[in-house]
């Protein structure tokens, strides 16, 4: 367990220090969200209505922004080889790195989201739904993103094709995530929340196996 947590802590330190992606993701999230009212017009009623979907898409894009480096830097400087020699199975390593990625992006995006929701005039009754759906759904984004990162590990500019691979796969998270906010807006019973949780749990539990298989193929190749 110590090896697991020290790997998480190491990845968190790398993400939050100079050159890491954590702060970048937050700024990107805020920037994309700012562009939307400039594009669709500043009608506060409309913005309040679409805030859930817009913030969900912006958060997903922001979380994926730095995911291509999840294994890339470690492969380049050789630390990935060292980590695989360690006591952890590759699946556990992938899980630890996914967890660190979520803590440095998904969690902080969730915490920033109410501030942006304020700018979007989101009605108060939907704030909890927005934060709860982001907290539950962004782990799935990190997990599926990890699959994409492992698949594009040996592609020279993997960041370019990674979104093409990952975006179709995260569709359920977007549907259910923004659905949770919509249901709260309309005051309907929120059936999307447990489904989002189920998708997230399945993605987090299964993706380490797919990603580890891909990393293994890359290392032996």
């Amino acid at each position: 367990m110590t090896a697991f947590w020290s790997l998480v802590a190491r990845d968190l330190r790398l993400a939050t220090r100079a050159g890491g992606g954590a702060l970048l993701a937050l700024v990107f999230f805020a920037t994309v969200a700012t562009l939307v009212p400039l594009g669709v017009g500043a009608d506060l009623k409309l913005l309040g209505r679409i805030a859930g979907g817009v913030l969900w898409i912006a958060a997903a894009l922001a979380a994926l922004l730095s995911i291509d480096r999840l294994f890339q830097n470690d492969l380049e400087d050789g630390s990935l080889d060292l980590i695989t020699l360690g006591p952890l199975s590759l699946e556990t390593v992938v899980f630890a790195k996914t967890l660190a990625h979520w803590l440095s992006t998904g969690l902080s995006l969730t915490l920033l989201s109410p501030v942006l929701a304020l700018l979007f005039n989101l009605p108060e009754r939907a704030y909890f739904a927005l934060m709860a759906s982001l907290a539950l759904g962004t782990p799935a984004i990190s997990a599926i993103g990890a699959i994409g990162a492992s698949l594009t590990l040996s592609v020279r500019r993997g960041g370019l094709i990674l979104p093409l691979l990952v975006m179709p796969l995260i569709v359920p998270a977007i549907i259910f995530g923004s659905g949770v906010v919509d249901a709260a807006l309309d005051g309907r019973p929120n059936g999307a929340l447990p489904l989002l949780a189920a998708f997230s749990v399945a993605a987090v539990l299964l993706s380490p196996f797919a990603a580890a298989a891909a990393v293994r193929a890359n290392l032996s190749g």
Binding site: I147, I161, L165, L169, P172
Partner: protein, 256 residues
């Protein structure tokens, strides 16, 4: 072992066993598949255009169905074929499975795109819109993106063995996700999150028998058979081309 030796050892698998048998068997199948495709599509199109009467509500636009529905079937079937081939590629490490999966993808993408285009051309006069964010339409668009991502991944990686492994993983993850996407759109509609539902429900494979008239069913059946034969024909030709290409590469690398 030097890098060149490794590469020669890897690619030389293609000289043995199944690819050879596949080449012999498929050569005989090509003319038959071509004949079936030409005959069934020919007769099917003739019936669709001249024999079938205009439908009561849709008029002549109903004839689009005969090119649309089989394209959609093949678009899905090709992904299934690709996923099964990818499974065998991962489990058995069989090179023929890699080639089969790789070559099915562009065909599936084309049939899926064809289904989307003919569907929206049919939608304009019937639903008064080219596109709706409906369950079937959305999941088909995502299917197209999955195909494109799969093809892009194959093209981005130079090492063919590695590309095959990674693409196979992607195809299987995509297959699982495709089921979830279909299911989640259905649930979203049920929850009222997603309001639109324009596409009609299943009208052919139903427990109580097809809900459309037999006169429409016959050309549809012929067209489906023809599209399947066409898909198999193109698939076999593409697999053969790929195998020949790899053999050429092996021979060239030996000479060098």
């Amino acid at each position: 072992m030097s890098l060149d030796d490794q590469r020669a050892k890897r690619t030389s698998i293609f000289e043995f066993a199944n690819p050879k048998r596949f080449m012999d068997a498929s050569e005989g199948a090509i003319p038959w598949l071509a004949a079936i495709a030409v005959l069934t599509v020919g007769v099917g199109l003739f019936m669709a255009l001249f024999v079938v009467p205009p439908e009561r509500y849709q008029g002549d636009t109903v004839r689009i169905m005969f090119v649309h529905v089989p394209a959609a079937w093949i678009g899905m079937m090709a992904y299934g074929a690709m996923a099964v081939a990818s499974f065998f590629s991962l489990v058995n490490r069989h090179p023929l499975a890699d080639v089969a999966a790789r070559t099915a993808a562009p065909l599936g993408a084309v049939f899926t795109a064809l289904a989307l285009v003919t569907g929206s051309l049919w939608g304009r006069p019937t639903w008064n819109t080219y596109w709706a964010w409906d369950l079937r339409l959305t999941s088909f668009l995502i299917l197209l993106f999955l195909y494109l991502g799969y093809i892009a991944l194959w093209n981005a990686i130079e090492d063919e063995i590695l590309a095959a492994r990674l693409a196979a993983i992607l195809a299987l993850v995509g297959a699982g996700d495709l089921l979830i996407i279909k299911w989640s759109l259905e649930i979203a509609r049920w929850l009222g999150i997603e309001a639109n539902m324009l596409h009609q429900g299943e009208s052919i494979f139903r427990a109580d028998g097809p809900s459309i008239a037999p006169i429409f069913l016959w050309p549809l059946f012929l067209m489906a058979l023809g599209y399947t034969a066409l898909f198999l024909l193109l698939w076999v030709v593409r697999i053969r081309t790929e195998i020949l290409e790899r053999r050429t590469r092996v021979l060239l690398s030996r000479e060098a």
